[in-house]
């Protein structure tokens, strides 16, 4: 699946791919490095991601959480933590084998 930034928004988006193996935060349409969280357990991954998100700005950034079947239970915990930090979030559902593409800062995903 290729996600493109929504037109007319000033906030920077992060696609957060929540899979059984790792969490990956992909910058959507802005120049930033991809962040990976590869802790062994999902709960420790959630904690690590929450710590990283605390350093972000909820007035300038938002998260789109891509939920895969293996992380349904932890998704609620992560969503609550992000909402408490004041972030706007959205979420989407993906199958275990579906791949995600984020566009480069200049272009669109293909």
């Amino acid at each position: 699946l290729a996600y493109n930034p929504a037109p007319g928004t000033s906030k920077k988006a992060w696609l957060v791919d929540l899979s059984a193996e790792r969490f990956a935060a992909l910058p959507l349409g802005h120049a930033a490095a991809k962040i990976e969280f590869a802790e062994r357990s999902i709960s420790s991954r959630v904690s690590a991601f929450a710590r990283w998100a605390e350093g972000r700005n909820p007035h300038q950034e938002y998260f789109v959480l891509l939920v895969r079947p293996a992380v349904i239970q932890s998704f609620g915990q992560l969503r609550t933590a992000l909402e408490k930090m004041g972030f706007e979030i959205g979420f989407d559902l993906l199958g275990a084998g579906q791949k995600v593409t984020a566009p480069s800062p200049e272009g669109t995903a293909s």
Binding site: L1, A2, V67, P69, I72, F91
Partner: protein, 302 residues
């Protein structure tokens, strides 16, 4: 009066009778053996008589004399010709003759080589025609592959256009619209309840659900694996869209309860729902968890 007894033959008569019989038998056997040997022995017929052999020998001797005489005549003729050639042949002619013989031998060699080359050319032509046929086949395959490639590119562009989507700024917001429950399991979408034409809820959709347990305060239900709308099937998508059009998108939103076995098909369902203009409340649900319907209005939708 006593009858007179016939007199018995004496022993000499008996002996004579026996000897005559034996002699007759031996004679008969001898004649028989003689006849059999005469009739059955082929060698006897093939063996020529001495007289015939002598005649044949005389004829052969006569032929030999004729042959020798003819040979002698030929030798004389050859000697005469050699004498004539020697008499009229000059060294130049002899050289020309030698050259002639040499050139003739060379011509024979060249003819032989030409025949070999012609065979090789024929083989080469055959090979060339086969290669030309192969080239034509490859051209056809290439043209077919190019056509398939362009078709695949069109399909890919279409697929990408379908799959590429705007990650809209999510506004998880409150709504007071009426909720329409849609259960997504087994890759199928099920309306949890029955509704009348006006969108009024009539009760559990027992066409698509079975009651697993009635606990008084609530009932536990499960969708039928063979019922509902199989989301990946085009006909089912059309049917589901037509069914959803019975609801007013301005007064209703969809609660999508998606079980973990159906995440793969969710994107298809989401596109269909969004294209129809509905807001939706997304509820990813793991196996073993229950969803309670407490009725009422209002929730958070995307």
């Amino acid at each position: 009066m006593r009858p007179r007894r016939k007199a018995l033959p004496n022993s000499l008569e008996l002996l004579l009778d026996t000897i005559c019989n034996t002699f007759g038998g031996v004679l008969f056997l001898a004649i028989l053996v003689s006849l059999m040997l005469r009739l059955s022995s082929p060698l006897r017929e093939d063996v020529p008589t001495v007289e015939a052999l002598q005649k044949e020998m005389l004829a052969l001797e006569s032929q030999q004399e004729d042959v020798f005489a003819r040979l002698e005549t030929l030798r004389l003729a050859a000697a005469s010709q050699e004498t004539m050639v020697d008499r009229f042949t000059t060294p130049d002619i002899a050289q020309l003759l030698a050259e002639y013989h040499e050139r003739r031998a060379r011509r024979d060699r060249l003819m032989s080589e030409r025949a070999i080359l012609l065979r090789q050319i024929a083989k080469g032509q055959l090979k060339t025609s086969r290669l030309a046929e192969k080239v034509k086949e490859l051209d056809r395959a290439l043209a077919s592959a190019v056509a398939e490639k362009s078709e695949a590119e069109v399909a890919l562009r279409s697929e990408l256009g379908w799959r590429a989507q705007a990650a809209r700024l999510p506004r998880v917001r409150s709504t007071f619209k009426r909720e329409v429950g849609l259960i997504v399991r087994y890759g199928r979408a099920y309306f949890w309840h029955r509704y009348d034409r006006s969108g009024k809820r009539l009760g559990l959709n027992t066409d698509d659900f079975v009651i697993v347990e009635d606990r008084g305060s609530h009932v536990e239900t499960a969708p039928k694996p063979y019922a509902g709308y199989p989301i990946k099937e085009a006909d089912a998508q059309v049917a589901l869209a037509n069914r959803l059009r019975d609801f007013d998108k301005h007064t209703s939103y969809l609660a999508l309860v998606v079980w973990e076995d159906s995440f793969e098909v969710f994107q298809t369902l989401k596109k269909l729902v969004v294209d129809l203009g509905f807001e939706y409340r997304l509820m990813p649900t793991p196996f073993g968890e229950s969803i309670m319907d407490r009725g009422g209005r209002g929730s958070h939708v995307q």
